[in-house]
């Protein structure tokens, strides 16, 4: 940060005031509508999350159960006080469940996306820039991991380590860690290709000639010019994550509520009453369809789906905006 100028001394030429910095940032961001919109959507989710943390306090991670809603043939719909209706599979209030779930989902999905993309971008850029054994290792491991659809793979790993985990604990952090380990190659591969191109680009050569060490070359020059191709993956991974969280609880009750003979439910969350968008959506859709052609209890799956879609659109807008921000201004890449 720039030092504040003395009131009556001469203004230092090189320093820029914080306000001016913010002004410059704003001029740079203002035309970037996607980035601002994406930030706004995610900030709104963040605000909901903080409000939920403050409002519900330590009891946040269990949704209260109401037997009257669970026993009703069709769960009570939206009304004053329970704005998004209720869920008859679980007997919970959908609005309250979604609010409680917001901080949990932001931490889980945000954590997976951040760790997977950071790991992938770092490994991919290093592999592309330095080559050699590191490159071979990154390519070999990522080729292996990319060989299986990520949502199956993470389940294989997660169910595999589950017997080793202590009983009665929240395994979601492990799930997030494994998901990040499965997803990083999808970021590393395009970044590696871009970094390979950047390695021999004129700006990298001139930086090398100017005495940049490998670390500076990586972080200052090659990385910012290589991350762009990885950004398209972010919204797709939101899909991958919610696929696992939603589909596997749902499959067990496929076919309009009767337990399926073909599939068994897999719940990633510690219990069905643990608030999580995907599992609320999966359980809500279970009994939202009492018969195929009828649409009763639409509220139990439409509102959770709206949360997931809004969050995904926020991530998409953010990734588009970042893409534009990282492009050389005014010049097509």
């Amino acid at each position: 940060m720039s030092a504040p100028a003395a009131p009556d001394g001469p203004e230092p030429v090189a320093t820029i005031s914080t306000r001016e910095r913010l002004g410059r940032l704003w001029t740079r961001l203002r035309p970037n509508g996607s980035l601002l919109a994406g930030l706004a959507v995610l900030a709104a989710f963040g605000a909901i999350g903080i409000a939920a943390l403050l409002w519900y306090g330590p009891g946040l991670d269990v949704m209260p159960y109401n037997p009257a809603w669970a026993d009703a043939p069709v769960a009570p719909g939206p009304a004053w006080g329970r704005w998004f209706g209720t869920d008859s599979t679980l007997g919970v209030d959908v609005f309250g469940g979604l609010m409680r779930a917001t901080p949990i989902d932001l931490a889980l999905v945000g954590g997976i996306l951040l760790s997977a993309s950071l790991l992938g971008v770092l490994l991919g850029a290093s592999a592309g820039l330095f080559g050699g054994a590191l490159d071979g290792a990154v390519v070999g491991v990522s080729d292996l991991l990319v060989g299986v659809p990520p949502f199956f793979f993470v389940l294989v790993l997660y169910l595999g380590i589950q017997p080793l985990l202590p009983l009665g604990q929240n395994d979601l952090p492990w799930f997030g860690l494994l998901f990040a380990l499965v997803l990083w190659p999808y970021y590393a591969r395009p970044v590696r290709a871009a970094a390979q191109r950047a390695r021999s680009a004129p700006y990298a050569e001139s930086a090398r000639a100017a005495g940049s060490g490998p670390t500076r070359l990586l972080f200052r020059h090659v990385l910012p010019n290589s991350v762009q191709p990885a950004l398209a993956q972010l919204p797709i991974d939101v899909y991958n994550i919610f696929f696992v969280l939603t589909v596997f609880p749902y499959l067990g009750c496929l076919g309009g509520g009767a337990p399926s003979a073909v599939f068994k439910p897999i719940s990633i969350v510690p219990s069905p009453y643990y608030p999580e968008w995907g599992s609320l959506l999966g359980y809500g859709a279970c009994y939202g369809w009492s018969l195929l052609p009828s649409l009763d209890a639409w509220w139990s799956y439409v509102f959770p789906a709206a949360f997931v879609v809004a969050f995904g659109l926020g991530v998409m807008l953010l990734s588009d905006g970042l893409f534009r921000l990282l492009s050389v201004e005014g010049l097509p890449r």
């Binding site: 299986v148 199956f152 073909v262």
Partner: protein
């Protein structure tokens, strides 16, 4: 052996048992010839003549051939409840039996006539209502098929041989250089690239095999060892070494992996149980693979028909309404869970279909469930929904001239393919859009535009052709997403034959029994989901290779760029 778990009463010398076994089919014939006598035995009637003491209950059920669904007569049923109330009876011509017991767990042993496998099971009897049991016995011919090594052993050795030849070619290829420094040898750079990629595939599969073993078998075994105190093979006795000792773990890992890998590679995949069917895994895979291939043909055709023009038109002008609209719609379709999109799609088609054709439950037709509910199988459709002679339902429907069947399969394929395309095109589009935009700004296009060539020609003829290799590369890259989507859509249409149904069924079933357990009896040596994932990976690796090779063949600059 048919009666390895059966101790028939009265216990006689072995020759007598052999005689009995011979006599049973004759007995069966006799019973079949006397239907009136058989009908006299009502299902609900207690088998014992003495009458049930107060407090006892009657459990009824039917024994049938797991494979064909035909009832089996002459099966001896031994039962032992929790207070030593013992009963012994035999099934009638309709395969029905009834036993007396008290509330609580009831041990049932079914001693089958020759040709079938015996079965032992436990049911919990409640004192209010007990629904009739359906017991399926497996023909022994099928079990022999499972336990023996199959053609897959030959295929595996052929694969190893092919790889060895490939390695030999590349290693032996002389690497000389011309005066200008260009390499010459047995293989061109292109050939060397293809050979190098091919050689990698077995190694990648082996690494995946190790990973699947570690997470599917080894770690769960360690987890169980931490509870039970010893490392035991599934179904085996407790190992003598302590699980904490590293040497113990290493030896356990080694021996277990060899068995696991040899079972997987020789086609010894055990039994699979999907819904009410419990059959050799090989059968499920060979019957249902044609369904998946047929669906893939439709889905890929629709995807290409949408993705190619849409990707070009939307990517041509970044930020245009078409571009923004396509991206928003595709992401929304991606993020709304597939099953909701599927249900809405079915809903859209269901009413018109019902109005046009009457009672034909949508999306169920070629499934075993539909035929069971509609008066039995067509002569050319088997118990798992497999059709003959080719196995591809559409082709076989055409061969047999069954218009209604063809129409139903066709509509269902189109519906599922549209659903897959709706999701997959969204993923595909996000990758391909940037390449289109880049191509649209290329110098060659600008030059052509300056010469007055109309915009549509620039887009469809100049750029469209140039982007085919890029599309191919993107297809290779997004193949995992495609396969995953198809698997889910297949599973979504409940009771739908397809590899996806088997995969989801096995994976979710494993969540109940735990990985690494021989959860379907002594013959279930491998976990079927591991087999399918391995095959998925092989499909992906080969698909990726084909896409890459074709793209490099069509556009040599890709290879040049990669070398640079």
């Amino acid at each position: 052996m048919a009666d390895r778990e059966l101790r028939p009463r009265p216990r006689g010398p072995p020759p007598l048992r052999r005689l009995l076994r011979l006599a049973l089919p004759l007995l069966l014939l006799l019973v079949l010839l006397l239907p009136t006598a058989a009908a006299a035995r009502s299902v609900g009637a207690p088998a014992a003549a003495g009458g049930a003491p107060p407090g006892e209950l009657v459990v009824v059920g039917v024994v049938e051939d797991q494979y064909s669904g035909q009832p089996i007569a002459g099966v001896t049923v031994d039962s032992l409840g929790n207070s030593l109330v013992w009963d012994n009876t035999t099934t009638d011509a309709q395969g029905r039996f009834s036993v007396e017991t008290v509330p609580g767990p009831l041990n049932l042993r079914f001693g089958a006539p020759s040709g079938f496998d015996s079965l032992r099971t436990v049911v919990v009897v409640s004192n209010t209502s007990n629904p009739p049991l359906t017991i399926g016995l497996l023909p022994q011919a099928l079990l022999n098929q499972v336990s023996g090594a199959t053609d897959a052993a030959w295929e595996a050795s052929a694969l190893v041989g092919a790889v060895a030849v490939g390695v030999g070619i590349v290693v032996a290829a002389p690497r000389r250089r011309t005066a200008s420094g260009a390499r010459i040898g047995l293989l061109s750079p292109f050939g060397r690239y293809v050979a190098g990629r091919l050689i990698l595939i077995p190694f990648q599969l082996f690494a995946l095999l190790v990973l699947l073993y570690i997470f599917g078998n080894f770690l769960p075994a360690l987890g169980r060892a931490s509870v039970s105190g010893c490392l035991a093979a599934p179904g085996g006795s407790c190992a003598t070494c302590l699980p904490a000792a590293l040497s113990c773990q290493v030896s356990f890992f080694g021996s277990g992996f060899v068995g696991f890998a040899s079972n997987l590679l020789t086609g010894n995949w055990g039994l699979a149980s999907i819904g009410a069917l419990r059959l050799p895994a090989v059968d499920f895979l060979t019957w249902w693979l044609p369904y998946s291939i047929e669906l893939a043909v439709f889905a890929l055709a629709i995807s290409v028909a949408i993705a190619y023009p849409l990707g070009l038109a939307a990517g041509w002008q970044e930020g245009s309404p078409l571009d923004r609209g396509t991206r928003g719609t595709s992401l929304a379709l991606l993020l709304i869970p597939t099953f909701l999109v599927a249900l809405f799609l079915v809903l859209l088609v269901f009413q018109p279909w019902n109005a046009l054709f009457g009672d034909s439950p949508y999306g169920l037709l070629p499934s075993p469930g539909w035929f069971v509910a509609h008066g039995g199988f067509l002569p050319w459709i088997g118990v798992g929904g497999q059709t003959s002679p080719t196995g591809f339902p559409l082709v076989d429907g055409l061969i047999h001239g069954d218009g209604a069947f063809v129409l139903d399969v066709l509509v269902k394929n189109l519906l599922q393919a549209a659903l897959i395309a709706a999701i997959y095109v969204g993923i595909f589009f996000r990758y391909v859009r940037q390449s289109v935009a880049e191509a649209a700004r290329s110098i060659s296009i600008r030059a052509a535009r300056s010469r007055g060539i109309p915009e549509s020609t620039l887009l469809w003829r100049h750029t469209g052709r140039r982007l085919i290799p890029v599309y191919l590369l993107t297809f290779g890259m997004t193949l995992p997403a495609y396969l995953g989507t198809q698997a889910l859509v297949e599973a979504m249409f409940n009771d739908q034959p397809g590899i996806g149904t088997i995969l989801f069924s096995e994976m979710t079933g494993v969540s109940q029994t735990g990985f690494g357990y021989a959860h379907l009896g002594p013959l279930a040596t491998g976990n079927l989901y591991q087999v399918i994932i391995l095959f998925l990976a092989l499909t992906l690796l080969l698909g990726n290779l084909c896409a890459d090779v074709l793209a490099r063949y069509l556009d040599p600059t890709i290879a040049a760029e990669a070398r640079r």
